[in-house]
């Protein structure tokens, strides 16, 4: 994880000019795809994530159906051209694990019991990647689910914290992640404060961990507001759609 390299912090600012507790610029577009039941394009710095949601729809093969609830599938995928060195198409171990933790990050808010025997399929495409791709994907997926009209208890918001040059900072970019000492992605249901994803690698003291946790949960609240706003704009737009 730690590598010799450039100075990441200078005069209390990070390479891209951000403060320690500052998120990268974000951009959200709701309902960007025609075929999907719900969709969302989410930029988080240089990450470009596109989420498409289908469902509730018939679950195939049948023997995987759940008689009591919908089955949620989540497929995280990086485009071959999204990274410096071309990624071979197809799932690898990294994307299998990210798909699993992302599904578990989202599942708790979906009212799966409303649609027994069906599937809710979430496809997240990373078109460009710059560290924090799983969190960008979860943010996109959460909005796309709402856009698809899937009944949800709340949105899920996600961000990573990390440690660079001994400092606990928010939302690492790729340069920081490559040289960083720790990375901790997290997802949260803001209204209830429930943490639905938590991963960590690198090395943190207990204090650093707790500081990071606080930082991340606060940032999730910020992201949550952006997600809500984007959905409200789409929603009000569609109500007033005829007059536009």
């Amino acid at each position: 994880m730690k590598e010799e390299g450039i100075e990441l912090i200078k005069d209390g600012k990070r390479l891209d000019g951000r403060g320690f507790e500052e998120l990268r610029p974000m951009k959200i577009e709701v309902g960007v795809l025609k075929r999907a039941d719900g969709s969302c394009y989410f930029e988080m710095g240089n990450n470009k994530a596109l989420a498409a949601v289908y469902g509730p729809r018939e679950m195939h093969p049948r023997h995987l159906q759940n008689a009591k609830t919908a089955v949620v599938n989540y497929r995280y995928n990086m485009a071959p051209f999204s990274v410096d060195e071309r990624k071979r198409p197809g799932p690898d171990r990294r994307s299998v694990e990210i798909s699993k933790v992302s599904r578990e990050a989202i599942e708790p808010v979906i009212l799966k019991e409303y649609y027994p025997k069906t599937a809710i399929d979430i496809y997240v495409e990373l078109l460009q990647s710059d560290a924090g791709t799983r969190t960008a994907g979860i943010n996109a997926a959460s909005v796309a689910l709402a856009d698809a009209g899937i009944p949800m208890r709340d949105l899920v918001s996600s961000v990573a914290v990390g440690k660079i040059e001994g400092e606990v900072v928010l939302d690492l970019n790729a340069a920081e992640d490559n040289q960083g000492e720790a990375d901790m992605p997290l997802a949260m249901v803001t209204r209830t404060g429930t943490i639905t994803m938590l991963q960590m690698d690198g090395r943190l003291t207990k204090d650093e961990f707790e500081r990071g946790l606080k930082l991340a949960t606060n940032a999730c609240r910020e992201i949550y507001e952006l997600q809500r706003t984007a959905l409200i704009e789409k929603y009000s737009g569609s109500i007033g759609g005829g007059e536009e």
Binding site: K34, L50, A52, Y54, P80, E85, R86, Q128
Partner: protein, 260 residues
């Protein structure tokens, strides 16, 4: 069952409309939907283009890596074209390895570029027999509302036109742009009833029983063709379609690949 019935009703509707001289979205038989081409939107890629044909949306990225040449062409770079019909782009696309439609799409785009010799592969040789540039064209379908083929082919040549060779990443020097010598453009037509339509949307694609893609070049020559679908075409229909294809390709080339 219900789905199949709906499918049939929709096909009949499309068919009847066309027989009366109209298309579902109001276009003329020889008109493309609105086309947009945005280039260089993926900074991690050496070249990229987002192409939209109406609601159909395809993102193409070009990446260059260093690799070994094929033993029978030691002084040429390698070109690889790959398609991913991502499951988010359509309820009909599934996860898993590329199926026959996705393989066909990639191979037709690839042949169009090869046939026109658009890329000077010899310029992609770094060290004869040892090191060449591997050029990967990755076609990523985002939203399928019909005619992915033309969107993919247009995205491929548009990306190539702006592709930078990442010499610095590999500690090399040399020209930084790809040498592009031609601009093959694909035009896909379907036959519905006795009518020929260009740029089929999804409903038209489903209603049609045969389809022909014609890829043509700046000088009006043809560098690729592919018929598909479960029915045949008459000789004279094919001749007509090739003519239409060359004409429409000229219009698209001028409008969307004009800055070359």
């Amino acid at each position: 069952m219900g789905i199949e019935v709906m499918e049939d009703i929709r096909k009949d509707y499309v068919y009847d409309l066309i027989e009366s001289g109209k298309r579902v979205d109001g276009r003329g038989f020889r008109d493309y939907r609105e086309i947009s081409v945005e280039r260089d939107i993926i900074i991690k890629a050496e070249g990229s283009a987002l192409v939209k044909l109406g609601d159909t949306s395809v993102l193409v990225g070009v990446k260059l890596d260093i690799g070994e040449p094929f033993s029978d062409t030691p002084n040429k770079g390698v070109l690889m074209t790959n398609t991913e019909l991502r499951p988010g782009a359509s309820p009909d696309f599934e996860t898993g390895p590329p199926n026959e439609n996705s393989v066909e799409l990639a191979r037709v785009v690839d042949r169009g570029i090869r046939g026109s010799e658009a890329i000077d592969l010899e310029k992609l040789c770094i060290e004869e027999g040892e090191k060449v540039w591997m050029t990967f064209i990755d076609i990523h379908a985002l939203d399928n509302d019909g005619n992915l083929m033309d969107a993919a082919a247009l995205g491929a040549i548009a990306s190539l036109l702006n592709t930078r060779i990442p010499n610095e990443r590999y500690g090399l020097t040399g020209e930084d742009t790809l040498s592009i010598r031609d601009t093959p453009v694909a035009v896909t037509m379907v036959k519905i009833g006795e009518n020929i339509l260009v740029d089929p949307n999804l409903h038209e694609e489903n209603a049609a029983t045969s389809r022909l893609t014609v890829i043509s070049n700046a000088d009006g020559t043809v560098s690729g063709m592919q018929k598909s679908g479960s029915e045949g075409l008459k000789e004279e229909e094919i001749v007509e379609m090739v003519e239409i294809g060359i004409e429409k390709a000229g219009e698209i080339r001028e409008k969307y690949l004009g800055d070359k």
